[in-house]
Symmetry: C2
């Protein structure tokens, strides 16, 4: 399966086997400054050249999965809107199918990453679990009784917008105190810039925790707010394990340890669910895209 993960900074791609093993992994910059048409062209080029590379190497590619941020109409394969890419209503499924002659499935990057954890990652084989994907935004997947909780409109798991942060801070969504304004990679970067005037990536801020008090304060806010969000999710749905995934989870124990301590303190009257950091980390989106591709292949040529 060819998997493509379109982000606001890079377009990642790989050919992924049914066991999650990745080959031909490539990353190219997303040309956001050149406008959405150029981003789409770069995505098409990346897809075409990966299919050609796979054929040269005798690696089978039966279908393509693409995950994108923002609002996605998965049933029609359309990228509806993404603020950080600037596109709207791009019919990615049809465009790539025509380009490649292969079945294509399009999905939401964070949700796909969560599904990857459920199928192949740290939540595999659990009947009750919660996956929280910490990327540019934050989203989650709730597994209950062996089934993914979909909800009435199919939009369950939106932990990124639960109001557990400072209620004076307004989110891009229009509400106040949303978790992703404090505990996403973008939020860590923003909070640090507000304190210091320096714009650094979340990974750079994590690297400075040993010698930078501003970094420590920002990290404390990010991890404490995340823990409150996890308390909400754990009390409402009672998972056996909570999996932290997405780019920010690359921080490993530097993320897990303070969150685990605050998580336990937030429910002192009962056992705390296990808290683990994903081993897929930033590749979860790509693996999720491969799972979408598998579904597309199952449907046969579109």
């Amino acid at each position: 399966m060819l998997a493509l993960d379109v982000g606001g900074t890079t377009i990642k791609s790989a050919v992924i086997g049914s066991d999650g093993a990745r080959q031909l992994t490539r990353t190219v910059p997303t040309p956001v400054a050149d406008g959405p048409a150029k981003v789409v062209q770069t995505l098409r080029d990346a897809a075409r050249s990966q299919v050609a590379a796979a054929r040269s190497a005798d690696i089978p590619v039966a279908a393509v999965g693409v995950v994108v941020p923002g609002i996605v109409d998965a049933s029609r394969g359309v990228a509806r809107y993404a603020a950080n890419i600037g596109w709207s209503d791009v019919p990615l499924r049809d465009l790539l199918r025509d380009e490649l002659g292969l079945p294509v499935e399009v999905g939401h990057d964070v949700r796909a990453a969560g599904l990857a954890e459920v199928e192949l990652g740290a939540a595999a084989d659990l009947t009750d679990a919660m996956i929280v994907v910490l990327g540019t935004g934050i989203a989650g997947v709730v597994v209950s009784g062996g089934t993914i909780v979909q909800g009435h409109a199919g939009i369950a798991g939106e932990i990124g917008h639960i109001p557990v942060g400072n209620l004076e801070i307004r989110c891009n969504c229009g509400a106040f105190g949303c978790l992703e304004m404090f505990s996403s990679a973008r939020a860590v970067s923003r909070m640090y810039a507000e304190r210091t005037g320096s714009t650094l990536g979340a990974d750079e801020i994590v690297a400075r925790l040993g010698q930078d008090d501003d970094a420590r304060q920002v990290w404390r806010t990010a991890t404490a707010t995340l823990a409150r969000g996890l308390v909400c999710a754990a009390l409402l749905t009672d998972p056996q394990r909570v999996v932290l995934a997405g780019g920010l989870s690359a921080a490993g124990d530097t993320l897990r340890d303070p969150v685990a301590a605050a998580f336990a303190a937030g429910m002192p009257w009962r056992d705390t669910p296990e808290l683990v950091v994903s081993e897929l980390a930033g590749a979860a989106g790509l693996v999720g895209a491969a799972l979408l591709a598998r579904d597309a292949a199952g449907k046969g040529p579109a």
Copy 2:
């Protein structure tokens, strides 16, 4: 079915048909001041006299359901602990079975009230719903895909302890900012007493909203905090409808309207689930007890 609902203030009882219709409804004070043995004796007397009354009136009673606050071991029929009654490890199922010669089932009052809404109340026939029972404490039931979310340890739905309130206020559970410290009947009473020095019941405070600024402030805190809790639940599990039940829901639109406004404001980017007030209100616990009795009858004489 004979249903008994033991609270910190009163013991309610009724004989309830399979359609939820109630007969022989009675309320006696809970003699908490006289100690737990006296409470148990009062419960036994109430149960015996109701069974006798039903027999005199030719109303069949096949089994008994009892719901109690605090910590309950439903599988053994034991009231493990309740702070507001003062009892611990009372084998209610065995005591009442021996007293009455009927099968008995014991359950948690708030959870039973939620189940009553799912089976016979405002959440009947919905596949995705959330019931929030606002009594002395707050608890909830999440219905997802037509099934009640149990969770790994069977304790899902504990919305009363999610941290969406003022984080400087410590809950009896040991954590900070728990919903039930702001939006339960007891919390409304406590917050009013802290402002005014006067101890009033939540119903009395609601009755003063038209002419008492302290009452208005307390109600604003209670309803705004509840709305934040509902936003968390709605975003995580995406119900079609949220049902407010329990004693505080007797306030009707005085409760529903400010909560609905804040609920919608908390998720401006998507449709808000329907928000309704239970028609069972304070009787939901009794109806839930009757459903437990039905289960006990189904098992035959114990």
